[in-house]
């Protein structure tokens, strides 16, 4: 039995009459790339937001590396090794790309109660940040203000920021959404390298990407995890075919 880095037990989240997450349980094993797929409204982003502490579940528990993190704040979860990228980018738009990543490096290094030394010329921040930008192919755009970057570049920057906190578990919310074909291919390449280094939970609509990258796939329908298995198992699962993939669609 491989050890679970993340264990979700009976998670439930209700918004009024709508049950977005319904008694959901799943496990993400150390080292795997675990994809979560499901039709629109299946509760994928709601799940990620609960894992990341941005939404409080109504019931259920979340364990990370053996510790119950259900009640922890987002910042506390990040300090324990969680990171997330956002489907709708959450960036510091007045800052440069470099500032955005450097701030994540800074946060990872410890507290920010340094009131005097110039942060933008601090090599302890800028050097790792530039390496991080280079990793996602943005090294030439380091000094560009984020609000002047393209959507694709902003998505790449999301990844660079998440990686700068050196996560043990990376939660990726549709990193490919809205990307062009070339950008998509580059992101798939990058994720293939990343999965050698860290555990990843990937929510993605691009099925080619999911089946190319995922070690295991969980299928969410109406807030419930209806099955978890390898790409092959999921593809051949009768319930999945009916509930989600549709005959002959994959």
């Amino acid at each position: 039995m491989p050890d679970a880095l993340l264990r979700v037990d009976h998670l439930t989240k209700r918004f009024g009459g709508l049950t977005a997450t319904n008694d959901l349980s799943l496990e993400v094993r150390t080292g795997e790339l675990h994809a979560v797929i499901g039709p629109n409204g299946a509760g994928k982003t709601t799940l990620i937001s609960q894992l990341f502490g941005e939404l409080a579940p109504n019931a259920g528990t979340i364990h990370f590396a053996g510790e119950d993190i259900t009640a922890l704040s987002t910042a506390a979860r990040v300090r324990r090794g969680l990171a997330r990228s956002f489907q709708i980018t959450q960036l510091l738009f007045d800052y440069s790309a470099l500032d955005n990543v450097a701030l994540a490096v800074q946060a990872h290094l410890g507290h920010s109660y340094h009131f005097w030394a110039d942060a933008r010329s601090d090599r302890a921040l800028t050097e790792p940040a530039l390496l991080g930008l280079a990793r996602v192919g943005l090294e030439g755009r380091a000094h560009v203000a984020v609000k002047e970057m393209s959507h694709g570049e902003q998505k790449q920057l999301e990844l660079a920021i998440a990686l700068a906190t050196r996560p043990r578990l990376l939660l990726l919310d549709e990193p490919m959404a809205g990307l062009g074909t070339t950008e998509c291919a580059a992101t798939i390449d990058l994720l293939r390298k990343l999965k050698q280094e860290t555990t990843i939970l990937l929510v993605e609509h691009d099925m080619d990407a999911v089946f190319a990258l995922a070690d295991r796939i969980s299928v969410l329908v109406d807030g419930q995890c209806i099955t978890t298995g390898t790409g092959e198992e999921v593809r051949n699962n009768e319930t999945v075919r009916i509930a989600y993939l549709g005959e002959g669609n994959v």
Partner: protein, 341 residues
């Protein structure tokens, strides 16, 4: 290439702006230095006291800018810390003159360094307490609660009959500093210039530091900061305290300058004026609020000389400036929108 430049902290293409700013600073220093001489030469010594008021408000507005402009925290009660700073000077002088003890154990003082330090401490503590409570809220609630707390402080001083209540408190003589003749307006002007120079130097380091980057990030997207592991509450509180200390410095200077403190210093309209200065000059810029202070104090002085209905003229002027500059007057000078942090 790009790498080494970035590592050195120099943004390619920003050199011209850096040079312009350097030149601007030199010009500013020369103007400030020559102002008293010029004012006396052209037979208008009132310019010196006008400039002193502008400088004091520049410090107060800059202190608000730290939270309002950089941190995006719309505090509508900043005059409270300005007034508290002033009252510390007034009350310490009161007990010095009466030769008794404040609260039965704190002796009064007329030593500038002591009263200034005390004003910073007390304003900072007031900001710590009120900030700790107000920062639990956000948005409109935050605006209203900072206003409400400031009004509470206002009414506290109104009801303190010992210290003059409504009528305020007279400081018969300005505090003493190194045997300088503080009663002389030119001397006091240079004291204010020196303190302002120190204040803005510290402020400049602060907003470029790691703390300053976090603060600017709070303005732009708090969710992002949480997502990289930063709990924003404490950073906001520290910024609130630093801003309160700055207002306390300005308040202490104002009490010495006008030799008088009254609840008027803490009135909510004073908070509004400080906000106007920040927005007018340009939030999240080092000197924007100072420019706003110069414009507002200047307009007030000129317009009150013309008519007692001066606010009737001031309003439209402010609206026009706001409409045509958008990011503040400073953006016109440098032709840019992006804030410093």
């Amino acid at each position: 290439m790009a790498r080494t430049e970035a590592a050195a902290g120099v943004n390619p293409g920003a050199r011209r702006i850096l040079l312009l700013r350097g030149a601007g600073l030199v010009v500013l220093a020369v103007v400030l230095l020559l102002l008293p001489m010029t004012a006396n030469a052209i037979g208008d010594p009132a310019l010196i006291t006008l400039a002193t008021r502008m400088i004091i408000y520049a410090i107060a507005a800059a202190s608000l800018n730290l939270i309002l402009g950089y941190g995006g925290l719309v505090s509508f009660g900043h005059a409270a810390y300005f007034g508290v700073g002033g009252y510390v000077v007034g009350i310490l002088y009161f007990h010095f003159a009466a030769d008794d003890l404040f609260l039965g154990f704190i002796p009064g003082s007329n030593q500038f360094l002591i009263t200034l330090f005390a004003a910073m401490v007390v304003s900072g503590l007031a900001a710590l307490v009120l900030g700790a409570l107000s920062l639990r809220t956000t948005g409109l609630q935050f605006i209203m609660i900072t206003l409400a707390f400031a009004q509470m402080v206002f009414f506290l001083f109104v009801s303190l009959k010992v210290y003059g209540g409504d009528d305020g408190l007279i400081v018969r003589r300005r505090n003493l500093l190194f045997g300088l003749n503080m009663a002389n307006d030119t001397t006091f002007y240079f004291v204010c210039v020196t303190i302002a120079a120190l204040y803005f130097a510290v402020f400049w380091r602060l907003v470029g530091s790691r703390f300053g980057l976090v603060l600017g990030g709070i303005r732009q997207n708090e969710r992002r900061l949480a997502a990289i592991g930063i709990s924003t509450y404490r950073y906001k509180l520290v910024a609130f305290v630093i801003a309160g200390i700055g207002a306390g410095i300005a308040g202490a200077l104002m009490a010495n300058f006008s030799k008088f403190v009254s609840p008027d210093m803490l009135h909510w309209s004073r908070s509004g004026e400080l906000m106007i200065m920040v927005i007018l000059g340009g939030g999240a810029t080092l000197f924007g609020p100072a420019i706003g202070a110069v414009i507002l104090v200047g307009l007030e002085t000129v317009l009150t000389g013309w008519t007692e209905h001066w606010q009737f003229i001031l309003g439209p002027i402010l609206i026009l400036i706001a409409l045509f500059t958008r990011g503040g007057v400073l953006t016109l000078l440098e032709n840019r929108r992006a804030p410093d942090a």
